[in-house]
């Protein structure tokens, strides 16, 4: 287990290293003077000089890369073109809003998805099963930002059940503001997870140990919800880890549509104001988040499965 964890994190670190390199190469591959592009029309000689020094543009390219790595390792993602504040600081200020949204979405979509999937698998080929199947495909197919817009229109503007914009103050108000955005970006995950759970559940329900549980007269509910689901749920953990990337993407739209602060809003605003260090910093941090959460999901998965946990 420990060596598995080490190997998994080594892979994550390697992927991050390549990701950083790719970002570096991308910035360099853009024709023209990077400083000029990054600063845009607002470039003053003073700012230009500072950025040139920061990016070590006067050095040979391999040295630039080494310095780039060094800065990353120290958590230095550059400085805000306007305020001169550290990009890392600015990004981490916005991150909690995005994480709040993502976790809310994961919680409700995983709970509902698992329930639907397990129920459908326990009653295969019934009307409910078929309905769940069609709904799942439809949910998966519906793009989050369109769902966000349509639900904004229907539930906030038209019916006025929920607030349209912002994050709110205090626990209940914040929760109230979370409902629509979390609904919008979680919907396709309900579909994903329901399909996944149904498939793995059907497989598990066919296994011999389930027949044993039945032969001992255990209640069907307990067999499905404990004996089978404990196993069928394992792939869901992995998928949620991978899902972080999708949810980070979807959160960008939800933040724009519902005018919530967060990583996505920060990036879009920074693109509009051509504040590139913030854009790059946010992209790198969200990538890091994604890579770490995928690795963590694999570890949690291994830990939840006693067969993997107790083996080396």
């Amino acid at each position: 287990m420990l060596s598995f964890a080490l190997r998994r994190f080594a892979l994550a670190a390697l992927i991050l290293l390549v990701a950083v390199t790719l970002m570096f190469l991308m910035i360099r591959a853009v024709p023209g003077d990077p400083v000029q592009i990054m600063l845009g029309p607002r470039a003053t000689p003073e700012l230009q000089a500072r950025l040139t020094a920061e990016l070590a543009l006067d050095q040979p390219i391999w040295r630039q890369l080494v310095i780039f790595y060094g800065n990353m390792l120290q958590g230095d993602l550059g400085t805000d073109v306007f305020s001169g504040r550290s990009v890392t600081q600015i990004v981490f200020q916005q991150l909690p809003f995005t994480l709040e949204l993502i976790f809310a979405s994961i919680i409700w979509s995983a709970a509902l998805g698992i329930l639907l999937g397990a129920y459908a698998a326990a009653h295969p080929n019934t009307v409910i099963d078929r309905t769940v199947a069609v709904l799942s495909v439809s949910f998966v197919a519906a793009p989050a930002f369109v769902v966000a817009l349509l639900s904004l229109l229907l539930f906030a503007v038209h019916l006025q059940w929920f607030p349209a914009i912002g994050v709110g103050d205090g626990f209940w108000d914040r929760l109230d503001h979370l409902v629509l955005p979390a609904f919008a970006i979680g919907l396709s995950w309900v579909g994903y997870i329901a399909r996944l759970v149904r498939a793995s559940m059907l497989e598990v329900l066919g296994e011999n140990h389930i027949r044993t549980a039945r032969a001992f007269g255990l209640a069907e509910r307990r067999i499905v919800m404990v004996y089978a689901l404990r196993i069928a749920i394992l792939p869901v953990v992995t998928v949620i880890g991978v899902g972080m990337g999708f949810l980070l993407s979807a959160a960008v739209f939800a933040e724009i549509v519902f005018a919530r602060p967060g990583l996505g809003k920060l990036v879009i605003d920074s693109i509009t104001t051509r504040n590139y260090p913030i854009v790059m910093g946010s992209v790198l941090i969200s990538t890091g988040l994604f890579v770490v959460s995928t690795a963590l999901a694999d570890l949690i998965n291994a830990w939840l499965d006693p067969r993997a946990r107790t083996s080396t």
Binding site: N208, G217, Y227, T310
Partner: protein, 326 residues
């Protein structure tokens, strides 16, 4: 004469398939009395598994009970409600399945599973754990308290089968069904487990329906034996009578083919030439005719009835008629 516990009476079971109905069991009749060990023997595909899943009503969805009854303590299980069946399973009737490697839930500890199956008892969790540990000790698992918190994959195949037996006997059932419990194990383990099973059976006085394709084990363990071929009973009776005086050519071939007795294990049954008939498309006459070296004209025309040939000895073969009439 002791009281009858389980009666299978004219049971016919089909599987509905795309190729048509598969006649998995045809007119099966036998009974198991209280405290007695009855063996069922036959090749793979003879309907043994269908039979036991029919008794417990744990059958695949495409199963159709066409005829007959399965009576347990006089109650027809095929008419019982799902609720009534659930009350029987793991309480009055327990089962040990064939493949010990897959018979337990892989993500729940052995202790958890053994506590769970005592769901009918009102004892505290600690008491249930203590009982589970006691049962593990009884089937010969050392240090049972500590091993309760381990997971199935931490036990060897033999150990897992002992756990399965411990679980099956925990409720002190009236009937224990053992479905080839030792087939997946090697010979020494097989002997140990069979002996342990017999000791426990004597202690608890439960009846056992022991399914095997290993005649040696059956001879060693059972009081009576039922020989099945292609979904039908071809011969049944007292173990000694069957072994010393088999009245059906199939039984005779089985005995001939059994490699010595209990010391060696038949992984694959030495072959009797020919194939089991297609259950979806049964030929007329005797089902064993194609593989029988003593087949006669009559065997192709009429199905031989299962007839009483002696004290509790039944066989379905025209040869016996020849003898009787000759």
């Amino acid at each position: 004469m002791t009281e009858t516990l389980l009666e299978i009476d004219g049971l016919s079971v089909d599987y509905e398939t795309e190729r048509g109905d598969l006649k998995a069991l045809r007119d099966i009749s036998f009974d198991v009395r209280k405290g007695e060990i009855v063996g069922i023997v036959g090749e793979s595909g003879c309907g043994k598994s269908t039979l036991i899943s029919s008794i417990l009503r744990l059958t695949a969805p495409n199963t159709r009970f066409r005829q007959g009854e399965v009576r347990f303590k006089g109650q027809n299980l095929l008419q019982a409600t799902e609720r009534q069946m659930r009350d029987l399973r793991g309480d009055d009737i327990s089962i040990v399945f064939q493949d010990p490697m897959q018979t337990h839930n892989p993500v729940l500890s052995v202790g958890q599973q053994m506590v769970d199956i005592q769901h009918r008892s009102s004892a505290s969790k600690a008491e249930k754990r203590a009982k589970a540990a006691k049962m593990l000790g009884a089937v010969g698992i050392p240090d049972p308290e500590a091993r309760l918190s381990q997971f199935p994959h931490e036990f060897s195949g033999g150990m897992r089968q002992r756990i399965a037996i411990a679980m099956a006997l925990m409720s002190e059932p009236d009937l224990l069904i053992a479905d080839e419990p030792t087939t997946a194990l090697d010979a020494t383990l097989e002997v140990q487990i069979i002996e342990r099973l017999r000791e426990l059976q004597r202690e608890m006085h439960c009846a056992v329906l022991f399914i095997s394709h290993h005649l040696g084990v059956i001879a060693e363990l059972c009081d009576r034996v039922v020989v099945m071929y292609a979904g039908a009973v071809v011969e049944s009776g007292d173990v000694r009578e069957i072994f010393h005086n088999p009245k059906h050519p199939y039984t005779r071939r089985l005995i001939e083919c059994d490699p010595g007795h209990i010391k060696t294990r038949a992984r694959v049954l030495p072959t009797i030439p020919g194939e089991v008939p297609d259950l979806a498309n049964l030929p007329g006459g005797c089902i064993f005719r194609d593989r029988c070296d003593q087949a006669m004209d009559r065997c192709a025309q009429e199905v031989p009835p299962l007839e009483r040939l002696g004290e509790g000895h039944l066989a379905a073969c025209w040869l016996n008629h020849e003898e009787v009439s000759a």
